[in-house]
């Protein structure tokens, strides 16, 4: 999808003013942190596992070439095929070629953020192939022609009424008088409507939560089972994934899986964790005849060895989104691309450029909650700050902030001048604040006073009062 991250402030305003979105976000914001907390309280080793998970990922990244080559050898040995893609266009082309090789008409899809990243659905449709999203949240937003707003719960911005509306508009073959009042009815309808699509699909496309070098396997984690029906029924299973998903062994995957579900939804384990290796074996009665892995770079190798390498540890669990007060205020669409929230604030500029996405790492109070819940200890605020440093150095920040800040910094390095100015400012504003003790409105502070009062200074500055106190003999203080 074409990024609109440059419009983040306007997008955010729309989100803040949307009462349905605000209600939906309210549900998520209270639910996810509580469930995660309950899950980690049941696992005393959780903190230690975060450190182990971080170490596994760092080790893998330090030897990424070795592990990817080993992974590819094992995929091939199991009868599968790896297609390396430098960028989105190559990845799309690889998928299209495979689909065309079997004259595919219908393609079912499990949820894949990488597929969103390369805008795969649009490309398939433009080439006469119908992609059918099968994850319930993805299916809903596909009907509504909108992007996902969360990396694991794509329709989190919607309430049931909007889902019902989308279903009524799309499922015209069903009885128009049917009741779609509750999530149960909606879920049953999705199951009924999508089952024939699963069965009719020529190709099934999934993502991968992990790639296992030891066995040449891909691992997907779902609660619905849609990823499984997507991959075992059609003739071809294509995994659309990216380089940094690889881990060395199944034991490494087990450690990361213990972190993943708890961090994402607060579950002990997702309903379905599936390890897929190659096509069906001789003698199997089901399973795909072909297994392809499209392995995407699209800017990831550029992060290795630099300030943003730690971002490649990301498990896409969404814990950072779920705990971010900015995400909770504006929702995922405000971020303007595939990856919202704190991880999106770091990754999006890396993948689409900081000129486009520069607002995202700035729209943070650096509260640090994201880093504190990241299962692999990614220092998200630090990397957002690195983006700010790059923007500052390249003069991408608005001139008024930049010059104001530099002026302030200049004064701050001159204590005598600073103290004099602070004392004057304190006295003037203290006096102007008058008997109210605060300002309802203040020139040059409209950003603040538009929505809150500004408390008035007490009067003289601390340094001025302290100096005076020091001058008095001891007994007089």
């Amino acid at each position: 999808m074409k990024p609109t991250s440059h419009s983040f402030p306007a997008n955010a305003r729309i989100g803040l003013a949307d009462p349905i979105l605000q209600t939906a976000l309210g549900l998520a914001r209270s639910g996810f942190p509580l469930r995660r907390q309950q899950a980690i309280e049941r696992l005393p080793e959780f903190e230690e596992l975060r450190e182990v998970g971080r170490a596994i990922k760092d080790h893998t990244l330090a030897h990424l070439d070795f592990y990817l080559e080993l992974y590819e050898r094992n995929v091939t040995a199991a009868g599968g095929q790896v297609h390396w893609a430098r960028n989105a266009a190559e990845a799309r082309a690889a998928v299209l070629d495979i689909c065309r090789s079997v004259d595919a008409k219908i393609v079912t899809k499990g949820k894949s953020m990488v597929a969103e990243e390369i805008a795969l659905n649009d490309h398939l449709e433009a080439n006469g192939i119908t992609p059918v999203e099968t994850d319930l949240g993805e299916y809903i937003i596909q009907l509504r022609h909108e992007p996902p707003s969360h990396i694991i719960a794509p329709a989190i911005h919607l309430m049931k009424e909007q889902v019902a509306e989308a279903f009524r508009a799309a499922h015209t073959e069903l009885d128009p008088d049917r009741s779609l009042n509750d999530p149960r009815a909606l879920c049953d309808e999705a199951r009924t409507v999508l089952r024939p699509r699963f069965l009719a699909a020529d190709v099934g496309i999934t993502g991968a939560n992990f790639l296992v070098a030891e066995t040449g396997s891909s691992i997907i984690v779902t609660n619905e089972g849609n990823g499984d029906l997507t991959q075992i029924l059609p003739r071809i299973h294509i995994v659309v994934t990216s380089l940094e998903k690889v881990v060395p062994t199944l034991e490494d995957a087990a450690t990361l899986l213990r972190l993943l579900a708890r961090s994402a939804t607060g579950q002990e384990f997702s309903s379905y964790t599936t390890i897929s290796t190659g096509p069906r074996r001789p003698g199997d009665h089901d399973g795909p005849e072909q297994y392809h892995v499209v392995l995407l770079d699209n800017g990831r190798t550029a992060l290795l060895g630099g300030e943003f390498q730690d971002m490649l540890r990301c498990l896409r669990c969404a814990a950072c989104l779920n705990h971010c007060p900015v995400y909770a205020a504006v929702g995922g669409h405000a971020y303007g691309w595939v990856y919202p929230g704190p991880m999106g604030a770091v990754l999006t500029p890396a993948l689409v450029g900081v000129e486009e996405a520069g607002h995202l790492p700035n729209a943070s109070s650096f509260c640090g909650r994201c880093e504190s819940v990241c299962p692999v200890k990614i220092p998200l605020p630090k990397m957002m700050r690195h983006w700010r440093e790059r923007e500052f150095a390249r003069r991408l920040s608005p001139p008024v902030y930049r010059s104001g800040l530099r002026l302030w910094a200049w004064v701050a390095q001159r204590p005598a001048l600073y103290h004099a100015l602070a004392d004057i400012a304190g006295r003037v504003l203290g006096w102007a604040g008058g008997h109210r003790g605060r300002f309802r409105s203040l020139p040059f502070a409209q950003g603040w006073t538009a929505v809150r009062d500004l408390p008035a200074p007490e009067g003289r500055s601390f340094h001025s009062l302290w100096a005076e106190r020091q001058r008095k003999p001891r007994g007089h203080r």
Partner: protein, 228 residues
Amino acid sequence: MNSARDDILAGIRRGLGRGPVGAETAAELAARVAAHRRNLVPARAAGLDHAARVDLFVAMAEEVQTTVARVASLDNVPGEVARYLAAENLPAELVMAPDPSLDAIRWDQRPLLQIRRGRAEPRDAVSLTPCLAAVAETGTLLLVSGADTPTTLNFLPDTHIVVLRAGQVVASYEDGWDLVRGRQEWPRTVNLITGPSRTGDIEQRIQLGAHGPRRLHVVLVEDAPAAE
């Protein structure tokens, strides 16, 4: 013109500030993979004796809406299956994995139960399969694909019944990996199943039976050892 593969690998090496991994490092890394050492495994299930481990499996499974019926022996399986289907108001028909481990069950004791052996078809409402193991840590069943254990049985029907012998309950996922590695060939699909299918995608309210089975029923046979 370089291939994408060459460019990507070159890009990785450039980023890491080195050339290809040297022979000594490669050997170390290969050895690390071959050894597949376990990382920290939570104590939750590891420290338990077998009976307690089985109890833990049952408790964790029931937490996620798996139903568990504990029976004394394989001979009790047909009766339990018939009872379960009647209690859930389901027709007395099912499709069963062709796996030999299920051959010893006296299905002839329940002649009204219609059984077909093979993979699942869209019309099948109930399936019955064995499993390779059950992981006590989170109440998770481990199933593998094969000629005798088609994967469609785990996903197409609305109700999935699993026959589990108590001896198959292991503590951790890592114990499960070792069992899979011990098989003749690595399977196409390894399924770790923890409860029925579900979704919370609409207003965060959990609904069972999104696309996979709505019901997952485990018949836990307490006296039989694990199948060979």
